[in-house]
Amino acid sequence: MSYETKRLIEIRQGVLSKNDQLAAELRSRFHAAGVTVVNLLSSPGAGKTSLLEATMRAMLAECRVAALVGDLATDNDARRLARSGGLVRQIQTGDMCHLEADIVARHLADWDLNQIDLLFIENVGNLVCPAGYDLGEAARVVLLSTTEGEDKPLKYPATFATADAILLTKMDLAGPVGFDRAMAEENIRAVNPLAPIIATSARSETGLQEWMAWLREQMQARHKGTKTIA
């Protein structure tokens, strides 16, 4: 064969394989330490921080809760969340449109994971980019607020299809903004027939019990998993 011959160089590698590998390492660390990690995705302004604050406050009564909060430049969200009494750290994301596994690993480097039962990762407000990046989480939860369009699930099928649970947020505003819940659920079901849909409001605490019950299920599933392996 001459060196001038056209050649095919096989690669067959995931474009995000570096991130996937780091995420797998994180996942086994979380598993070993007994931490259940929940990655929260939504568009900007869907009420992630308010819901997380209410959730952390309530869950702290029964377990050790922490949060990594992706925020563009300010530490407002982190400060708000710290009021709940949980362990909170901000990730300054600057102009990044999503979090990656190495950023997560760096930000919890000095945390003792054995002292945490439930860790939330509040991703960057964006319904496109975060979907492609595994952060080592046990579950991915997508929020859809009543103030957004009911058609969001159809516009962002990649994000909604891969969610383990979908939270409708700001249900207290459903009436005033004319939110069509049946239509929103129909659109969610079109791209994700399996994930539970939980209607919540951080303000009125609607659905908080159901959401917490789902979180407990995730934590129990972790522990069962540990036992089976051990």
Binding site: E10, L16, K18, C129, G132, P157, A161
Partner: protein, 114 residues
């Protein structure tokens, strides 16, 4: 823009592979992108041209194979291809199916030299 960082990843992996294979220039890059990968083909082509500048991949053609969503249908007990990524229903029995088998791919498959 998300596709630009994806494009840089592709260029980095490909440049390393080209060097290891002793190829000084690459004429085509084959990738597979799933309908649920969150990557838009046109945006990726545009970003790739920028990311490839000044590398052995400059002027290489980006050849994209789009991978449709394939789900497992428990009723048909088979993997079925969805004609529309916005409707997770089995095309033969019309049952809702949420178990994704393919469609999240974002893979660098191969390089071609001139």
């Amino acid at each position: 823009m998300h596709e630009l960082s994806i494009a840089y990843n592709i260029v980095n992996i490909a440049t390393k592979a080209a060097q290891e294979a002793g190829a000084e220039q690459i004429s085509a890059v084959h990738v597979r992108i799933g309908a649920l990968s969150g990557v838009v083909a046109d945006a990726l082509r545009f970003s790739f041209a920028i990311a490839a500048e000044g590398t052995p991949l400059a002027n290489a053609e980006l050849i994209i194979e789009e991978v449709p969503v394939v789900v497992f249908c428990p009723e048909c007990r088979a993997e079925v291809t969805l004609p529309n990524p916005r409707l997770f229903r089995c095309p033969s029995c019309h049952r809702p199916c949420g178990q994704i088998v393919h469609g999240r791919e974002l893979e660098l498959v191969a390089l071609e030299t001139p």
